[in-house]
Amino acid sequence: MNARAFARQLARESRGARGRLAFFALCLGAGVAGVVAVAGFSAALREGLASEARRLLAGDLRVEGLRPLPEPAARVLAAESGARVASVRELATVVAAPPTSAGAGRSRLVELRAVEGDFPFYGRLTLDPERPLAELLAGDGAVAAPELLSGLGLAVGDSISVGGRPFRLRGVVHAEPDRLGSAFALGPRLYLSGASLDATGLDRLGSRVEHRTLVGLPGDASAARAQELAARVKAALPDPDFHRVETAAQGQPELRRGVDRTERFLGLAALLSLLVGGVGVAQTVRAWLASRLEAIAVWKTLGARPGEIAALYLTQVALLAAAGATAGALAGLALQRALPPLLAGLLPDLPLPAFQPAALARGLALGLGVALLFATPPLAAALRVPAARVLRRDAEPLPLPRAATAALGLALAAGVAAVAALQAGSLAYGTAFAAGLAATAALLAGAARGLIALARRLPRLGLPVPLRWGVAALGRPGAGTLAHVVALGLGALVLVGMATVERNLVRRLDAELPADAPTAFLIDIQPSQWETVRAEIEAAGATRTDSVPVVMARFASIDGRSVRELAASASREEGRRRWALTREQRLTWLERLADDNRVVAGALWSDPERFEVSVEEEFARDLGIRVGSTLVLDVQGVPVELAVTSLRSVRWETFGINFFLVAEPGALDRAPQMRIAAVRLPPGGEQRLRDALAASHPNVTLFAIRDVLEKVVAVLERVGLGIRFVGGFTVVAGAAILAGAVAAGAARRAREVAIGKAIGMTRAQVAALFAAEYGLAGGAGGLIGAVAGTVLAAAVLERGFEIDWRFEPALLAAAAAATALLAILAGLAASLRPLAERPIEALRHE
């Protein structure tokens, strides 16, 4: 056959099957669109995260420690082209309002921050009036948080005394990019210029001043450059133990995890929709080739070589796949553009994904690969049709040789592994996915064989006619029950897997929604004040009030080794550990743990002999603390020995008051203490309470976190919406493709309808027997697929998302029933025309 004859045949072969072939392209296109859209969306999400992380660090890089930045490190930064440097010093100190006629002015512990340079490089300092910070701080200027003003009874324009020197309040700072409201702030914020701080003499040798050096890299600098610069700065530090070097990418693990989860979910959705597209392709090709069996037999009798026939159909598949994948890729690009506005607010300023030729190419390659992969087995089978088919219509294709079947299976598994690995960016993940899928397919095939054997052996003569025919149809040779059950099962796997992951993820998100979270924290409450403060909290309309005592302490020793010794032995890389060992710890005591705490090892208050402490698990891991460890704490000069009898996991995202260390009641009763409280107030209640407290308990500071809370709620709700949307879309698209696949097979049944009618069956009876057949195959495939989907979802949730999943037997039953129903409806819908047709139409075509 020359090229022109080949091309002509190509066009002719598609005749009469164009609808079916369009469906083929559609299946593939849906999957490819998902892949391309997800790639772009993930990139945008990563970009958005990077800029959010920079904002939260207020720079690309941060060096902090209790000493000024050493000269060699400063030289590295100065030599870095295009880098801007700002330095920030922070210390806690007491400030006071000027004396009044009534006596000395009120005083308050504040977190003083002195800034030199263009702070912040990212994010925004919300100031009132809206002037540059440097301008407000010029001369004797100071800028204070509103809590401080109300606490001291001051206003902008008043004088404030810091370190014994008067400063003029020039503005109010409402929000700082690198500070989220916290129960553990020492006090409200006050800004001074670097020169002003020097003038107060507070930054003397020996005082505890936190030195931060922020670096802003040029706008187009990559995270890798920040990383590389961080390494050089670290290397230049003469004694790296005194400084921590952090890049934006390292910070914000919580946010990173949220974005990782979303990305993984989207990747999974894309992979599964590609897979369900593949199943649709395989079933469509099967149905299409089934209608071409006569033609293939005739081709053979006319002398066409099998290679030529294979080339003809493979080229057809490839052309269609290319068309479908291209259309899908274009749809994916359009979807990329549509998604970010839909999810705007997920991250502030989520950028539009740039045009990504790599993602486009990958989508196209995956689409073509999946199409050829899934089309090959039915094609190989069809080519084995004997030429005798021209004489006897029901001469079925010969079975493939075992070796060929095995080779095809292996190629399919390897192909799926490659697709999954490419999509997930991990060979191990791809292999595991393909292995799980192969196991599921084998299980499905085994179950289908069992079903066929059962259908043959079952004494079906006692069954009502439709059911008998349904059972018989499953068992007859060459019925395609195997492929049907496997396809339905894989479809059910995708749908159930997706639905389970989505439901658990959304459930987790809903649980994380701090619906009952506090909107304000109160600190520095003296124990004797608590009763009257609580009365004022209630008067302000609080719907929830939590309060615990807080004791400040430092570690003295752990399991008999002094902290000094432990800190000295911590290696250079263990800066976090050293920091945790030496910093001041806050403890509380509780009889029972709050709902967001869970004991993961040991038992709470289980040793009647000793005073006990419960430690947060990650904190314990960092410090090498285990159940059975003994901690000695230095509580403001008094050593207190505590036995570790339990470890806890804490869900920090609930915004509740939580501690790394919780002591047994009684252990710290006599230690100097104060109380903190977390309260949930109606809108506006924070200001009312703040004003009331300023008058009655001026030492108490109230931090309002309503803004932060509302932002977090909005983000979580958006994420939930996005996941529901993508999950729902995948499930609906999958169901549609599956229905199409069933329908593709059912269209061949016109002849059976005609015969049934000719011998006196009514339309309803014919429909009933089809329903029985499709229902049985769908129910069996659906059940196995649903079980496999649940296993997949459990693995994905636990490994990929670190979320406990909940088993839902009702979902399994519903999935099996739904698959059966879907198969019945799709099968009947496809049989509508033959059912309505006059029998002669179908019989005439013989």
Binding site: E396, V465, R476, I759, I840
Partner: protein, 227 residues
Amino acid sequence: MSPPPPRLELRQVTKRLRSGERELVVVDRVDLAVAAGEFLAVLGPSGSGKSTLLGLAAGLDRPSEGRVLLDGREIQDLSERELAVMRRGRLGFVFQSFQLLANLTALENVLLPIELAGRARPLEAARGMLAAVGLAERGHHYPAQLSGGEQQRVALARAFAAEPELLLADEPTGNLDGATGALVLELLVRLRAERGATLVLVTHDPEVAARADRRIHLRDGRIESQS
């Protein structure tokens, strides 16, 4: 008392089919009556409208004009459902290409019309029919596992299973070799005679037609002659 109506009667039956722009008259104003118990052979060249005529007689197809009566009852306006119910236990078919249900075993194929007709002891009747066509031992085989001659014998068993009053056969030996065809025809004629069924048989084989009580010759959709 009036004489009983003919088993099958066609009055001025016309069937037109659209073929692109053209309208094709496949059956043209045919009048035909077949008495109860009669064996009628329908002869004619390819495309003369034989099979269409058969389809019209069985209610598998609707006439464009004219009336079709079975036992005096007009069937051309019945719904699909009414037609299906009407066929049960009254009409039997044999097709050139057998048209067995591939899903069902030989026995189940034979069983189906008996059960649809609601006859008593259907399994025994089906087994008896298979024995009558000499395939008692092959009941559990699927059509694909049977030879062409065997398949057509199963089809005969199925056609006679519900003891129909009217049997319609469309070139039942057309797909079989001479010897097998003769065997199947012999069986068909014998079964009909035993059960006293009316038989309308479409063929273009004069030897087959010679066994009939009466022959009509079709040409271009019209009855050209009778003998």
